[in-house]
């Protein structure tokens, strides 16, 4: 039930694209996200109200959707900063290592900082690969 609600709230407005009536309507045996046959698609309207939508115009509608567009902006901005933040943390850990002197616990904390930065980089790389595989067309452009 909860997953259906999430689908209805998040996925349906972006994927069913302002359909008007008949087979286009999600309540007429067309669960959100299912592919329509070409005959059915002729009676549908895309998000701009134009009839007979093509896959290109539907894709345009999807990319023009505020959720998708802003999500792409945020994702691109944050993924550009990952490398910079990770290298900054590693350099901070190096300076901490230098300043540690002969104190063992200070060296341990510096090592912890460096390994955590590397774990973050690894997590981002795996998340990048997973999302690129999961989302058709890829989210990182």
């Amino acid at each position: 039930m909860a997953s259906f609600l999430v689908l209805a709230i998040l996925v349906a407005p972006s994927l069913t694209l302002a359909v008007n009536s008949g087979p286009c309507h999600p309540e007429n045996n067309n669960p959100p996200g299912t592919a329509l046959s070409p005959e059915d698609l002729k009676n549908c309207l895309d998000c701009n109200g134009h009839p007979n939508p093509t896959p290109e115009s539907l894709n345009e509608c999807l990319n023009g959707n505020p959720i998708v567009r802003d999500l792409n902006k945020i994702v691109n901005f944050l993924s550009a900063g990952v490398g910079i933040v990770v290298i900054g943390m590693i350099i901070l850990g190096g300076i901490q290592y230098m300043a540690a002197g002969d104190k063992v616990e200070a060296i341990t904390s510096a090592k912890k900082r460096i390994t955590n930065a590397l774990i973050a980089l690894l997590a981002f790389i795996f998340m990048f690969a997973f999302l690129q595989w999961l989302i058709p067309g890829g989210i990182f452009r």
């Binding site: 901005f77 910079i84 350099i91 290592y97 002197g101």
Partner: protein, 135 residues
């Protein structure tokens, strides 16, 4: 001789002798060769012989500033390692053969060298990954 002098003066005070080239952060304008935080922003002549960023668009320019801050941190680490090694060497000298103090000083030196290695390897490593992924 006079031409050499003129060339030197024109290097020191470029605004009197022509337009300032602001396509890159001009060298020799910063303290201890530490780069400015606006190094990677689009620069323009500021009218006083230097260069300054024209406008800062947040948040798009945030990572450019972050990259410049990383450059500053690498330079600061290079300066800091010199001072840490000098401090450790002096403590080595004044240890007077005391075994505990000499091992502590030696550990100090090796740790500061390890820290320098971490800083250098990190900058090279992440620049390499950024170049290969970013293409």
């Amino acid at each position: 001789m006079i031409t050499l002098l003129l060339a030197k003066i024109s290097f020191i005070i470029p605004s009197f002798f022509g337009a300032v080239d602001c396509s890159a952060d001009p060298p020799g304008t910063s303290f201890l060769s530490i780069p400015h935080w606006w190094k990677y922003l689009p620069l323009e002549p500021d009218g006083a012989g230097g260069c300054a960023p024209h406008a800062i668009n947040l948040p798009d320019d945030l990572w450019a500033i972050g990259l410049a801050i990383i450059d500053i941190m690498v330079r600061l680490a290079g300066i800091a390692v010199v001072f840490f090694i000098i401090y450790a060497s002096i403590s080595y000298i004044i240890s007077q053969g005391n075994a505990e103090k000499t091992t502590a000083a030696r550990k100090r030196i090796t740790n500061s060298l390890i820290g320098l290695g971490v800083v250098l390897v990190a900058s090279v490593f992440v620049a390499f990954i950024g170049n290969t992924i970013g293409k």
